[in-house]
Amino acid sequence: MSDFDDTFVEIEGAASPDEALVVAVDGFEGPLDLLLSLARNQKVDLAKISVLELAEQYLAFVESARSRNLELAADYLVMAAWLAYLKSRLLLPQAAPEGETPADQMAELLRLRLQRLHAIREAGARLMAGNHLGREIFARGMPEPVEVVRVQEQIDSLYDLLTAYSRERLKSVAVRAYKPGHAPVLLIEEARERLERMLGRIGNWSALARLLPPEWSSGVRRRSGMASTLLACLELARDGRIELRQLRPFDEIYVRDRGVREDTEMV
């Protein structure tokens, strides 16, 4: 506890009686801090300070501030009122009024609060004076970052390989064996099944040409693709599931989903 003195002398600086106190009032962190500073001036263990003396010093300080027309914050005045009351109680020792704490207990409580503040303040000072990471103690100056490496992992199996090979070889054999004589035709049923799967995903007035299966949308196959898809569309239009529109003969034919139209009208 004796090393507290050093800390305190420093905080108080040139705090000689009354004069310095008034000047330094702004430097105090509230009335308890001021009381603690006054108590330290008694140069005794905080547990043994004279609370009566302390109260008188505090009240004298407040009086001196008043006489110099210095304004004191409200909490300093609240403390002054309490200390004045405590002082009167201490000076006239008698049984405490009903429901009130005895004066010596009030005094003891003040001592405890001062000790507690002093102790925690000391602890804070010790903490800050201790080792700080980055000030006295250092972690690795050049930490080595973790590198995330993407590793490509082929998951093709022997089965895949053999399937691919068989498929490839069978294709050539099949072409040779069947000699297909008939022209490739997209069946109307196929076109209709495909369109039905697309229902709900057809945009508002999509061009018919854009609805062709990719493998039936170019070259000679396009004709069959177009014809069968148009027929399938007519069937679906008859069933009331889609609508068709053509602005003039031979112009592009547009398709829309009836479901889509209802949605857009609602909006």
Binding site: R121, G124, G134, R135
Partner: protein, 236 residues
């Protein structure tokens, strides 16, 4: 393309353990695991806990035993293996601070009020604003708590189950890491403060101040996700 040195390869080589005695059951494995642990901790920028280390080491490694051994190896060295906030980190030895000490100019000095408040939060946690004000005998400005939260040393940790359910403050993991503490129980002088009764509640003030603890106090609720928490600040 990615020529990765496989664990198995290294372990098969077992180049390191020249000093392995015959009585050691699995000396090759241990020495190699020790090297791995050393490398992981050396490379890391943050303290690592045992679970994280366990995930990086081969399965079945006794991380705790390895850490104890590594700590012993480095005990008297210029770099020590220390446990902070329940995690492990290599740090320069405290006695070499005279050699390494650097004051960072940007390291903002905390105000006296802030340091005092930090100490109260650290030693008394969980603690409410009212309790801080009671100990200091003065109103706590919002800026003081803000400064401590900004440094990252103090956080809102819950709400007290009393009237108004005030938020409670506590210290963060960053606080422990910064001051090199394993837990708040290791705060310097905590035992003395407690023994002197300074961490107890004062009778007349009706305060309930237990010893610092990171666990929820009996009358403390955890902060909920949706809980704004900060709201309390405006009330003062």
């Amino acid at each position: 393309m990615n020529q990765v040195v496989r664990l198995a390869d290294i372990m098969a080589k077992g180049e390191i353990e020249e000093h392995a005695g015959p009585e050691e059951v699995a000396p090759r494995l241990d020495a190699e695991h020790l090297r791995m642990l050393e490398a992981i901790l050396f490379a890391a920028s943050e303290p690592l806990d045992e679970a994280a280390l366990g995930r990086l080491l081969p399965q079945g490694t006794s991380v705790a035993a390895l850490l104890a051994e590594l700590q012993e190896i480095y005990r008297a060295r210029g770099v020590n293996l220390v446990k902070v906030a329940g995690k492990w980190q290599f740090r320069t030895a405290p006695d070499l601070s005279f050699l390494l000490r650097r004051e960072k100019p940007e390291q903002r000095r905390l105000s006296r009020a802030a340091i005092e408040t930090l100490a109260i939060v650290a030693y008394h946690q969980p603690v409410t604003r009212a309790q801080i004000e009671d100990i200091r005998g003065v109103a706590l400005s919002k800026g003081t708590i803000d400064a401590l939260m900004e440094v990252g040393w103090v956080k809102i940790r819950g709400r007290k189950r009393t009237v108004g359910r005030p938020v409670t403050y506590g210290t963060t993991e960053a606080f422990l890491v910064h001051f090199g503490l394993e837990s708040v129980g290791d705060l310097p002088g905590a035992d003395e403060l407690k023994a002197a009764g300074f961490l107890d509640a004062l009778p007349a003030s009706g305060l309930d101040i237990p010893a610092p603890s990171e666990n929820l106090a009996p009358d403390e609720d955890p902060l909920e996700e949706s809980d704004p928490g900060e709201g309390e600040d405006n009330a003062v």
